[in-house]
């Protein structure tokens, strides 16, 4: 047994209203600079739908993740080490910018500088890639709320095999939102694909990061990740990915996406796992057993043997206690309502999802039946095969049984709690029918519906002996950085070359640069242009207000 700690997340899809707040705040925090305009570390997809980038789940096309070879051993689906080196000059499986979308801005300037005319001036879209006028045809959430679904839906790789049923019942269709970040996998295929060894998994908390000083821009990670959550910054020539907001998590506060989630549907906590069992679990022969196999890799943090072993390998006491209180462990292994996204990629993803019961509830309600009654809901879960099969394609490699079980638990919770809320005698038969006790169902309800900030986010801070480093600037000589090498926006060898600057300084500079200089495609009159999207209300940038009258 080799105990390791992993920072993990669970999202409760029933609560996601698809508001994209997580995407926007994440983008503002991490990917708002040039070169990554098309990049969303966090994105929210409407399912059924193609997702972002388009049809990324079609691994026969993209060859991401792992597969078993004929001898049952794990290998990269995109090919081994030699193949990677031979295709290094032109990556054959790199999504093009069209598979994401061509980022754009609008020529807002026209709105204020156009001469008096009969028709209202229009801010035309301009491509942020070429700087030319463009026609917007796609974006990261173009098919939001099933927009254009009749035309696009058949391209959703997860609908393969059930497309007839989905199309037949389109009027009675279902829909839900799927927010996605990097999965911070236990067996990351991006890291395994990186020729430079720049992507690493932090041994303390399992966060998967790109060392940008070691990255040489070979782009194999982009192809290797089956979730397409590693991106290529086309200005700096380096890979970028979700960082699990490590500077925040290290001081004990949740990621930006979780912090700003309106529906409070994200849970963050530690899980302890046995690193020695990861390879065997990832090599499970049958795709449909991978969910169970991954669940069994996790160690019970309340088991004295596990605690003793964790202490022996130097996991701090407060981390073990945090693992015991972890909402993520509870949802995955205690209540067993959270499922991994695409376990069949064999990367052992660590962002799990509670599948939504709402498509089922909605349909029951629309038929005029009582959508809170467990009998009706159980029957509906059994009868409504389409949502269940679709969810199974996403979360259990197509095995409907675990999805069924989760949906029944959620349905049972609804009915059981309604009795309590209405002051009726709670019926213990309801939890029993899903193999739980009334108390367990109530605890699960508390965690899913009522949990406060400190119950949803159980994040032990990185250790005090390292606190100095986390402060970054507190007692360092901050003058080292201002005007020093690497402080200019663009070094002698192109975009952002030069030494590394601390993240806080980088943010400060980035904000300053954005407020003063960032415009699309470097227009000649950029001195007088203002990017209103980036203006934070402070100061008076040139050109925002008419010049003061000479008095």
């Amino acid at each position: 047994m080799r105990v390791m700690a992993q920072m993990a997340m669970v999202m409760n899809l029933d609560k996601c209203i698809g508001c994209h707040t997580c995407s926007v705040t994440c983008k503002q925090a991490w990917s708002n600079c040039s070169g990554v305009e098309y990049v969303w570390f966090n994105n929210v997809e409407t399912r059924p739908g193609q997702g972002y980038p388009r049809a990324y789940e079609d691994q026969e096309r993209w060859r991401g993740g792992w597969e078993l070879n004929r001898r049952g051993r794990l290998r990269l689906k995109g090919g081994g080490r030699l193949r990677k080196l031979f295709t290094i000059f032109s990556n054959p499986k790199l999504p093009s910018i069209d598979d994401y979308y061509e980022p754009w801005t609008y020529d807002y300037d026209t709105l204020t500088t156009a001469p008096l005319q009969e028709h209202t001036p229009v801010a035309q879209p301009r491509s942020l890639i070429s700087g030319q006028p463009t026609k917007i045809t796609w974006s990261a959430n173009w098919d939001d709320n099933l927009g254009g679904a009749p035309d696009h839906l058949h391209r959703d790789p997860m609908i393969k095999g059930i497309e007839d049923k989905v199309r037949l019942e389109f009027e009675k269709t279902f829909m839900f939102y799927l927010p996605r970040i990097c999965e911070h996998c236990l067996n990351p295929s991006c890291a395994a694909s990186c020729p430079s060894g720049a992507i690493y998994k932090r041994s303390e908390d399992g966060i998967v990061l790109v060392d940008q000083d070691k990255c040489r821009g070979w782009r194999m990670c982009v192809s290797g990740c089956p979730y397409k959550k590693v991106y290529f910054n086309h200005r700096t020539g380096k890979a970028e990915k979700c960082t699990f907001c490590f500077p925040r998590v290290e001081v004990g506060i949740p990621t930006v996406c979780a912090e700003t989630c309106v529906g409070r549907l994200r849970y963050i906590g530690l899980v302890l796992y046995d690193a020695d069992r990861v390879l065997a679990a990832a090599s499970t022969p049958d795709d449909k057993d991978l969910y169970e196999a991954q669940r069994e890799v996790f160690l019970d943090p309340n088991d004295p043997a596990v605690v003793a072993e964790a202490e022996r390998v130097g996991i701090p006491r407060d981390w073990i206690e945090a693992a015991q209180r972890s909402p993520v462990y509870a949802l995955i292994n205690k209540y067993r309502v959270a499922l991994p996204l695409h376990p069949e990629y064999r990367t052992m993803p660590m962002v799990w999802y509670i599948p939504p019961l709402s498509p089922v509830v909605d349909i029951v309600r629309d038929t005029g039946h009582d959508a809170e009654d467990h009998g009706n809901l159980f029957a509906a879960v059994d009868a409504l095969r389409i949502p269940v099969e679709y969810l199974a394609n996403l979360f259990t490699a197509g095995d409907p049984a675990p999805v069924d079980a989760v949906l029944r638990k959620l349905a049972a919770m609804r009915s059981y709690l309604r009795d309590i809320n209405l002051g009726r005698e709670p019926r213990e038969s309801i939890p029993e029918s899903v193999g739980m006790t009334g108390e367990q169902v109530y605890d699960m309800y508390r965690l899913l519906a009522l949990a406060k900030y400190d119950e949803r986010y159980v994040i032990p801070p990185a250790h005090a002996e390292q606190a100095h480093g986390l402060e970054e600037l507190a007692t360092e000589c901050s003058l080292d950085y201002e005007g020093g090498p690497g402080m200019g926006g663009s070094g002698p060898f192109g975009e952002s070359s030069g030494g590394a600057s601390p993240i806080a300084v980088e943010n400060f500079r980035m904000l300053r640069d954005r407020q003063t200089s960032d415009t699309y495609a470097a227009p000649v009159d950029k001195g007088s242009r203002v990017n209103l999207l980036n203006w934070d209300g402070k100061g008076t940038p040139d050109g925002l207000f008419p010049p003061k009258e000479e008095s």
Binding site: I97, S203, G469
Partner: protein, 254 residues
Amino acid sequence: MSAEPVSTTGVEVGALGTLLWVAVPYAAIATFVVGHVWRYRYDKFGWTTRSSQLYENRLLRLGSPLFHFGILLVAVGHVGGLLIPRNWTETLGVSDHLYHAVAVSLGVLAGVCTLAGAAILIYRRRTVGPVFSATTRNDKVMYVLLIATILLGLGTTVLGNLTDSPHDYRQTVSPWFRSIFTLHPDPALMVVAPLGFRLHALAAWSLFAFWPFSRLVHVFSLPIGYLTRPYIVYRTRDTAPGTRTPHRGWERTP
């Protein structure tokens, strides 16, 4: 082809000869080495291929492998022609004729691949809008030097062999090149070499001097280590405070 060693006795080298065939090579080598060390120490973040595949793939898919594999073959050819002395191959029983045939055929093949690939890539760089706007001045200088060197080299190989008595560079250029590294530079060997070789060598030295400051540094990150390292890399969180080592006198007290 004459098999007798070229005699350099009595060849007037002159100040210009010493400058071009002794000073320039050493200056270029020094810039190359020191420049790389400096670049690696101070600009790891800028050390990248700066791929433009995201913008355009159709032309790149053809041009980039053509160019890169071609130029790797060219590099191998240069090792064979410049670094391996003539008497080594003779000892191995390689006749002059055989050597010559292999060198010319491989050289032309590699050169044509490289040049065709480079032509596709340059055409792409100029005509595809996003790729062109991502081209820095530094890149343009690099392209001029690189293409000039390749053209001069290929021209020397092709044109030199069309004449009745092709010049045997293994009597002049190669010993001169080796003499630089044995620290006994013999500029006289280069003075008697044909103009094409001299221009090719000068273009190459200027390319080497510019190399560490251009995107060409990515040549030295050819990830051979990938073949042997474990798939998943684990790393502990940096225990050193901040993102750089503190200056002397500012270290943290325990």
